[in-house]
Amino acid sequence: MRLSNTARWTLGAISLLVLTFIYVPIAVVVINSFNTSMNMAWPPAGFTLEWWGRAVGSQGLLASLGLSIFVASCATAIALLLGTLISLALSRYKFFGRESVSLLVVLPIALPGIVTGIALNNAFRTIMGVQLSAATVIIAHATFCIVTVYNNVMARMARMNRSLEEASADLGAGLWTTFRLVTFPQLRSALFAGGLLAFGLSFDEIIVTTFTAGSGTQTLPIWILTNMFRPNQAPVVNVVAVAMVIVSVIPIYVAQRMAGAESKR
C-alpha cells in the first residue's frame, strides 16, 4: 500500500509514542535503582550506588538467578524437543484428531496461570504424592512453553520448501540424515526464536511457579516476591530488573541477526 507521507509520519509518531509508553515505567525502575529512598517514592530523593553493590553481593539473589536460568533452560530444552516433534507431526500428516492435538498444545497457555497452577499442584501433591521441587517447576514450565516452539516451527514449516527434503530422500539420505542436514538448518532460526520466547516465559513466570515450587525452590521471580516483603530489600529488586533488561539485549540481538541473515539468503 503506498502510504502518503502524512500517513507514514503519523504512524511513525504513534509508534514513538507507544515506545515512550513502554519505556517510561522502565525508566522509573532504572531511576529507582539509584534512588536513595527505599520506597520508590517520586521524585527521587538522591543518588546512590548502594543497591547495585548489595545486589552483586547477595548470594540469595545470585542463587535464585542461577536456579531460574537452570529451570528456564531445562524447560526450554524439553519444550524444544516436544514442540518440534509435534510440529513435524502436525505439519506433515493429516490424521484424525489433528485439530484436537493443536488445541491441546495451546491449552496450557490459553487457560489462566492460576488454573494450570492449582491443577498441577493438586496433581503433584495429592495424586502423585511427589514433593514439590525444581523438577516440578520445570515440568510445569515446559508444559506451557511447548506452544511457543510449536507456533514458530509450524509457521516455518508452512513456508518451507518440501522439494529439498524429497530430493534428499531421492538421493538416498535416511530420515535422520535428511532431518539433520536439510530440515533442521531451515528450522534453526525458528527454533531459536521459539526457544527464546519459551525461555523468557519460564524465566519471568510467577503464578504457576508459586504453586509448583517447593519452599526451598526459589526462582528469581519468587525471590523478588519474597524480597518485596523483606525490610530494606525492595531497591535491590529494581537493580535486578534493570540488569535483566540490559542482559536480554544479547539473545534478542542474536535472534534478530539469525532471522535477518536467513531472509537475505
Binding site: M38, N39, M40, A41, S215, T226, N232
Partner: protein, 390 residues
C-alpha cells in the same frame, strides 16, 4: 514476624479444631518423650524450619547474619528452610527432616497435640530465664504446664495516620470504622480474613451488648456484626494491603492517610513522611512466635543450643531488629544497632503487651469458654472476608 500474617493465618484453620478440642478436654498430649535432664555433645548439623528472615546467614545481605556466629560457637552447621504458610510448615515438619521450627500461634498447638514437638527442659536454656515473663506460659506455647516453645519476638498491629491530614490526632480505631467516611478513599486495612478480629476488637469495646469477650471467638451474630462494620468500612477503603512495600509507598505518597500498620513500617518511612503510629485505646491484635524442638530431632543438642542462642541478647537483637518486632528479653535492647529500637517497639512494656490480643486461629469451639454456642471458624471468616471485599 508480621509481614506474612496473611499467610500465617493460613490454611490451617480447620485442622486446628482437632488440636484445640484435644487441649480443651485436657487430654494428655500425645507427645511422650520425656524432658531431657542434661545435654550431650553437639551434633554436627542442625536443620531449621521457620518464617523467612528468622535465621539469616548473610546470603541475602552479608551484613545480616546471626547464623554464622552460632555455627562457629557450637560447631552445628545450620541449614534453614523458610516456609510460606503455617500449613506448609506443618506438612514439611511431618517429613521429620527438621530439628527445630519457628511456629506461629496457630501451628504451635497442632504441633503439640500431634506429638511432633517435645516438651522442653527450660533449665537447659539459660537465656530463657531472661525472657519477659508475660511471654512465658501462654496458651500458644504451654500445655498442661509443660513448655514447648521459647519466644522469638512479638508485636502489635498499630494504627498509623498522616498527621497533616488526620486531625485531631486519633486515639481510637473509630477513625477507620465509624468516622472513616471523613477520609473516604484513603483508608487502608490489612488484607486477610484475620482482620475481622480487628473489627471484633472494636465492637468488643464499643458495642458491649454483643457480648464479645475474645475477638477470635465469635458466634454467628457477633461475626455478622463485625462483617457489617467491615462492609461499611469497605466504602471508604482506598486499598487493602498485605505487603510491607505497598503500605509504605501508599503512606509516603499520601494515597493512604489512615489505617493498620506495623511498627517496622513506621520505622522504615523516610524522615519527610508526616505519619504517626499509635496503639489505640481499644488495644490491638498482634503476634508472638515460638521456636520448638522436634520430638524426633536428629540433633537435639544443637537444637537446644539454637533455642538458647536465639534468646541470647545479641542474636535476639539482630533477628528481631531485622524483622521489625520486639525482642523477647530486656538484655537484647543493649545490642540493637539503633538505640531507639526497643523503645519504639515498646519491648518489655507489660502494660502495652497486655493490650495486644495475640493472633489465634478461630475455631468452632469458642475460645472464650462459652459452651452453649458454636463459634465461627477460620473457613467461615475467609468466606465472610471475600464477601466484604465484594
Amino acid at each position: 514476624m508480621k509481614f506474612m500474617s496473611a499467610l500465617k493465618v493460613s490454611v490451617v484453620a480447620t485442622a486446628v479444631a482437632l488440636t484445640l478440642s484435644a487441649c480443651g478436654t485436657a487430654a494428655t498430649p500425645t507427645a511422650s518423650s520425656d524432658v531431657p535432664t542434661k545435654l550431650g555433645a553437639n551434633e554436627k548439623t542442625l536443620s531449621l524450619l521457620g518464617w523467612p528472615g528468622y535465621a539469616e546467614d548473610g546470603s541475602n545481605d552479608p551484613k545480616v547474619d546471626w547464623v554464622t556466629p552460632f555455627e562457629e560457637e557450637t560447631g552445628c552447621q545450620v541449614t534453614f528452610k523458610p516456609y510460606g504458610t503455617s500449613d506448609e510448615a506443618l506438612s514439611l515438619f511431618k517429613t521429620g527432616d527438621y530439628d527445630a521450627i519457628a511456629a506461629s500461634g496457630d501451628a504451635t498447638l497442632r504441633l503439640i497435640a500431634g506429638g511432633q514437638v517435645a516438651p522442653l527442659n527450660t533449665d537447659l536454656i539459660p537465656n530463657y530465664a531472661n525472657v519477659y515473663s508475660f511471654l512465658k506460659n501462654r496458651e500458644w506455647n504451654t500445655v498442661d504446664g509443660k513448655t514447648y516453645g521459647v519466644p522469638h519476638g512479638y508485636g502489635a498491629n498499630l494504627l498509623m495516620y498522616n498527621t497533616k491530614v488526620v486531625k485531631p490526632a486519633p486515639t481510637s480505631w473509630d477513625v477507620v470504622f465509624d468516622k472513616a467516611s471523613a477520609y473516604k478513599g484513603k483508608v487502608t486495612a490489612y488484607d486477610s480474613p484475620i482482620y475481622i478480629a480487628d473489627a471484633a476488637l472494636y465492637l468488643m469495646v464499643h458495642k458491649p451488648e454483643l457480648g464479645i469477650k475474645n475477638p477470635y471467638s465469635l458466634d454467628e451474630t457477633q461475626l455478622a456484626a463485625a462483617v457489617d462494620l467491615l462492609k461499611a468500612q469497605r466504602q471508604n477503603i482506598g486499598e487493602y494491603w498485605s505487603d510491607y512495600l505497598k503500605s509504605i509507598s501508599a503512606f509516603e505518597s499520601g494515597d493512604t492517610v489512615v489505617g493498620t500498620t506495623w511498627q517496622v513500617i513506621r520505622n522504615s518511612m523516610s524522615a519527610k513522611a508526616t505519619v504517626e503510629a499509635i496503639l489505640p485505646s481499644e488495644g490491638a491484635t498482634g503476634w508472638s512466635d515460638s521456636w520448638m524442638i522436634s520430638s524426633t530431632a536428629k540433633s537435639p543438642n544443637c537444637a537446644y543450643a539454637w533455642l538458647n542462642y536465639i534468646d541470647s541478647p545479641k542474636a535476639n537483637a539482630a533477628a528481631t531488629e531485622y524483622f521489625g518486632e520486639a525482642p523477647v528479653t530486656q538484655a537484647a535492647c543493649d545490642f540493637m544497632a539503633s538505640k531507639d529500637t526497643c523503645a519504639s517497639y515498646h519491648a518489655g512494656d507489660e502494660a502495652y503487651a497486655a493490650k495486644i490480643w495475640y493472633w489465634t486461629t478461630p475455631i468452632t469451639k469458642c475460645l472464650d469458654g462459652r459452651k452453649d454456642v458454636q463459634c465461627t471458624d477460620y473457613a467461615r471468616w475467609t468466606e465472610a472476608w471475600q464477601e466484604i471485599k465484594g
